[in-house]
Symmetry: none
Subunit: 199 residues, 4 copies
């Protein structure tokens, strides 16, 4: 497996740093090579082309992300708790790596349409976790039976993603994970007061 060769990860980590610090369009292969401490040509022994670095970067980081998420998920037994964990964990993982947060929220979105489609494919694996939580919540009677899984998924992901992006754009100057509970509460109970009878 490629991933075991040390230079592979060395280059990916270099890419994260270079992209975060210089921006997507200023992240030339030569800069990444220099940051990784290898020659330009060496990059191409480990990656097919530049796009492959970016996809691999996303794949590797997302893989670690999913792994950690799944690991902790085992400790929770209700969909409500799992959702709370998902949100908090999502925030913790991104606020724990400032470079990565910049790369995923701002820089990688500047990539070509084609690359973004591939990134979306990888993202699906992550969104599956959400789907499972929602489905479980419906089946367990925690969530309303009429809940549209796809919409709920877009709502959760759209909300956390927008929240992280706003945080990154504001130079990451406030604490992200502490927003998790409020967001969870809003997703579960909405903006209104508790008694639906008001309506």
């Amino acid at each position: 497996m490629k991933q075991k060769r040390p230079k592979y990860m060395q280059i990916i980590d270099a890419a994260v740093i270079v992209i975060a610090e210089n921006g997507y369009h200023q992240a030339q292969v030569s800069k990444i090579a220099k940051q990784a401490g290898v020659a330009d040509g060496t990059i191409y022994l480990y990656f097919k082309n530049k796009e492959d670095i970016l996809i691999s970067l996303f794949k590797v980081k997302m893989g670690q992300f999913i792994e950690q998420m799944n690991e902790e998920m085992k400790t929770k037994h209700s969909a409500t708790e799992k959702l709370a964990l998902f949100i908090r964990k999502h925030f913790e993982l991104l606020s724990g790596d400032r470079h990565l947060a910049i790369v995923t929220q701002l820089e990688l979105r500047q990539s070509h349409r084609e690359l973004r489609l591939k990134i979306n494919e990888i993202l699906k694996g992550y969104l599956t976790i959400l789907e499972d939580i929602i489905t479980e919540g419906i089946e367990a009677g925690e969530f309303k039976s009429t809940l549209d899984v796809r919409l709920a998924k877009q709502m959760i992901f759209g909300t956390v993603d927008e929240t992280v992006t706003t945080w990154v754009m504001n130079d990451q100057k406030y604490d992200l994970p502490q927003l998790a509970d409020s967001i969870h509460e809003l997703l579960i109970h909405g903006f209104s007061h508790g008694n639906k009878e008001e309506k």
Copy 2:
């Protein structure tokens, strides 16, 4: 004279079409000029540079967007209704112009960081509408008094934006506005059943 519309709008409309059909990075000035039916140089009589076309495009379209939104907003008198209108209108406006939807949801996001910051400035005017609705809802007692305006705003915008992007990525093959009511319901009451006592 072929066109009575001033060339300014002619070029902006051409840019929307060219970007939607060719992608951001394949939208050369010469292509836009050709689509607009003017010479390359003419572009520069109306726009400072290529970036200026894109910013102007966003400004003009967003301006029309805000105007229409505010116009209809007058007919609604509760925050709940206004929110429902906002969501539906947002969907209607974007599903009513397929090219523009592709441009705003996919292509313009590939722009340089600097350009995206300018776009965000323009977007703030739009998000202000949301803020006003939320504040009004809290003051009128429709929304819970503990509602964090910023979070609620991110939640609404994150949700509708993610929903539209997913729709565009799926080649706009289903009806977007009909999702509005479900989303509104979820935002107001959350995923759970009505009785908070369960919790």
Copy 3:
């Protein structure tokens, strides 16, 4: 005759100012038109093209130059005196019009080879004055009979031209005409002491 139409001179004077203040390569036709207070298109009613403005500019100014030079030349009756007058007059005329000095010494030299050849043609009329002075000086026995007219001409013109250029490059901050006598003395008697026998 074109030259009598007021706009012709208006445009030429505008060109001198614009070129002196902006440099040759930043002296666009539109800038000259604006400075002259006419529309861009109007330029082309009086001049064939941009190059024609520059040639005409040089022709007109050089014509005035030659006229004034010849006028005063009548008052001198020895070649030595005429040469002294030539040098002083050359300096006076150029130090009397700071814009023109910049244009002739620095900016017009940046023009295309072709234009410079045309300028050289016009310059010949001016250099003829020099030739006449030298020939007269030889015939009158004031200058050595072995004097090579062509070389002497190049020496005089090369010296005064280099002197003016240096003065312009030093921002015209010292008095140019007061150098005339020293230069004249050097041209007539050279660097050495008076007694040729030393050699």
Copy 4:
């Protein structure tokens, strides 16, 4: 490998030829690259930009010029002889490289003001040689004690420069170095007969 010379000199030599044969404004980087037998991009491994090629060209050639000049200067022991050498050598060096002569006398003068200022800086090193000769001549009593060093410098350089330029404009069709002695004689003794008493 065709050439053993480092590409740096290869490109500079190519630039001299291309500029001489096509003129300053028709000397595109691609033409220079082709003449040098390298790819366009290779130019930018050795030079920052096009202007850098031109400055480097002038620096290198002027450096060689100064070096040769200084070398031979050692063999002469009077200022008069040194001046004679300077003039002859200046003519020899330029008439020995027809392309270079065209470039320095005609083409490089069309460059932007900014570039010309840089060229002038480099030229100062050359003019220093002249200054030293003049100062030495005054101190040794060869030249008159009232001689203004700056004026004398402008006179010498103005004269030789104008002479070379005229020669280039006349398609280099006569022998330049053979003019050296006459010019030297004129600079030392002037246009007049030897006996200053005439005056």
